[in-house]
Symmetry: C2
Subunit: 441 residues, 2 copies
């Protein structure tokens, strides 16, 4: 009997818990789901005979330690800043740990101790980071093994709405944390193109998109993520000539989103005084030069967009020029925008989400240049087992099983960039319908 302790029973844990409960009788697991809401934990375990739902506040250190001591492996689906504390206890009690978060410097420092304790601290085991690493490294390692030399790597991911639920002019709804969508891209995008460093400041980011074609879905647009440079060392491709990671949106989204960036409405660094008294139109006015005329006309002139084009249609559909009061106290521009969008981009009954990922490779092999795309499309199974929950939770679940079954024997701080992890992970994911399709040329 193996005891698995899952900390956190939020939305992103649904597919993970479902997967482990399905495996529980065959592999003899007991799955304990701990949350600050016992109700949430119980909704996920649904009285499954191999499950326990418990109330646990991670701030109660002695209770947390008690639970960790009883487990063979701990999965933390809590916010990332809590992981180092839990990892320290996992090292102390010699328990494996799995998270879907980036390796933090604090986590990295536990590597030696974890190795001494003979346990794995497994991170970046979800979608992004996680599945992106695994699927990219499988191709990169194969090219290397064949004697090829990678010259270009671009990788795009989007958490989007599925075509059957795509019924608004933006081609977008909130299928994940809205705040992250509002603040996406702030800072400077850094990448390498043809062996030259390239930088895009935030206020230019959404004007510099690329077209990405996905079989059966058609065209998307991709904008560059903040830091693509790190991935050279992570993927062992330090001399790659082009490296770019980006985010996918439906065509037309970025040029319309750029209006908010240009106005300054995605800024989260200050509070708009008396924000509760302002209508959304008045908030827009506060970013425009004062002069006579209606808000829409002034905005079109200030930003330099046509009065009757697709961009304006998207803005009007949001009700941006209406005198609707949002009534939020002490709100930043970003929070006001988020509140407006949450009333328009919310999922409604029956809405289905979708994850799209595409890696693009170019490599030299025996004097010739080759191109290869590897693409993934995952459609959600309704409101609970969303594409996002599946692509985050199933890799975490599979890696957990691989560790407990000793298929992964690595110790210390790890990510799924190594063959011992990505090969069995991707293989099992394919049996669950999560499969990358490759296309040459």
């Amino acid at each position: 009997m193996k005891n698995i302790l899952i900390l956190g029973a939020g939305r992103s844990s649904s597919s993970l818990i479902e997967y482990l409960l399905k495996a529980a009788s065959e592999y003899n697991y007991t799955v304990t789901v701990a949350d600050t809401s016992l109700e949430s934990a119980r909704q996920k375990t649904r009285n499954h005979p191999h499950s326990k739902a418990i109330l646990l506040d991670i701030r109660d250190q002695s209770e947390t330690e008690k639970e960790i001591k009883q487990a063979d492996l701990v999965i933390s689906m809590l916010p990332a800043f809590l992981h180092p504390t839990i990892a320290t206890q996992c090292v102390k009690y010699k328990k494996h740990m799995v998270t879907a978060s980036y390796v933090s410097p604090e986590m990295k420092r536990l590597d030696e101790e974890a190795k001494k304790a003979g346990i794995i601290l497994m991170n970046e085991s979800g979608l992004d980071p996680g599945l992106d690493h695994a699927s990219a490294m499988r191709v990169i390692d194969r090219i290397k093994a064949d004697g090829g030399k990678l010259t270009l790597f671009k990788s795009y991911t989007g958490g989007l709405i599925a075509p059957e639920s795509d019924n608004n002019p933006w081609g977008y709804k909130f299928t994940w944390n809205p705040r992250n969508v509002i603040l996406a891209g702030q800072g400077t995008a850094k990448y390498i193109e043809n062996s030259k460093y390239a930088f895009i400041p935030y206020h230019r980011l959404f004007t510099r998109t690329e077209k990405i074609y996905i079989d059966s879905l058609g065209y998307f647009e991709g904008y560059a993520n903040r830091d693509s440079l790190n991935y050279r060392s992570i993927y062992g491709i330090d001399d790659v000539q082009t490296i770019l990671r980006g985010t996918l949106r439906k065509p037309g989204y970025c040029e319309a989103w750029n209006v908010f960036v240009q106005l300054g409405m995605t800024d989260d660094s200050y509070i708009i005084p008396d924000s509760e008294k302002l209508s959304i139109r008045e908030v827009v006015e506060s970013f425009l030069p004062q002069k006579r005329g209606d808000t829409k006309t002034k905005l079109a002139e200030y930003i330099g967009i046509p009065m009757d084009g697709d961009i304006m249609a998207k803005l009007e559909w949001l009700g941006l020029f209406e005198d609707t009061r949002l009534k939020i106290n002490n709100a930043s521009p970003a929070l006001i925008l988020q509140t407006l969008l949450e009333s328009k981009w919310n999922l409604t009954a029956g809405d289905i989400d979708m994850i799209v990922m595409q890696h693009q490779f170019e490599y030299e092999l025996r004097g010739a240049l080759y191109k290869l795309n590897s693409s993934l499309v995952v459609i959600g199974d309704g409101f609970v087992y969303t594409a996002m929950a599946k692509t985050v939770g199933l890799p975490v679940g599979i890696i957990t099983k691989l560790i407990l079954e000793r298929k992964i024997k690595l110790t210390g701080v790890q990510t799924p960039t190594v063959k011992e992890i990505y090969e069995p992970l991707l293989k099992e994911l394919e049996t669950l319908g999560i499969r990358f399709k490759e296309r040459e040329g």
Copy 2:
């Protein structure tokens, strides 16, 4: 005999020390100038019989305390973050203190103790903050006393090059801290116009300038400072309908500076890898989309400026498209730009600087609307007694004298927004040629 201790003998202390040494025999002062460079201190005191030049490192607490104990008043021209420590000792030993820096929260907390000790902690006694407060409050208080109601207050200040030394296409040279010029305006400008809050994000700031006319000098352009909102409470004009503080430049500067903002070259938040190997043209290229063509043509297209206009002339004059290597390791874009500009905008022998300030007021009085401008132009007296050194140092010196002569009897944390300070300050400044000129209509 009164002992004045001046901490810091940098460039901005020259006019201050000169002023106090001139007053020394009449008022029986001994002026002690303390600096980490004894040479610097001696250059400023020049063996004046009423002076002492000493070596002092403020980090040596016991030496600093010894000097403070011997003084009647301490002037700190050190970086602002050091003031609270010195102020704490001034309170302990019951010594007055004068600085040209903004009141920090730490300084503010010493108000009660300073009052108990019977001493003044006098801040914001230079140009901006300082002279701006004094000159604005004199007019604001007069309008109030006459029964008027202020409806508009705009105030612009510029540290510029004097017309006789203005011989480059930018109409600008570094007469003060270059780094502050590069980073100027970052964040969001906040002000009030016609009772409505207005916000300008940094990437739009230099496109939204106003024309400002100064008698005998002609037109300038002003861009909004980061926070004008605070000045409502500072000046006691909470219900003013329009309030804006801004920075002055010669016409054409802002539209050309905007090119750097648009590219992202004023960003100080990250390091450009291998910066020492890149030429300035290559740095510009890293901000442009990659395609065939020369850098100048691509930049003109990307930013949307003419190939042969004034903006391009300014950029070419800087050598922005030349393959000059700046050879700075680990440089941010902002540092690279600063290094380029320091080689072009440096002061040369005989260059004269200039301070320009203009307050604009509108007020209602007995049913009628009035307009009033109050403007100051100060031209430097050569390389040492610059306009900047005079307008920062003379107010500090005069206020020091007023405190020691008991003309200012206030205690606690103060700024020159009150009549007891600004009236004698402005009166004596006028005898030294620093005089605001008012113009109605």
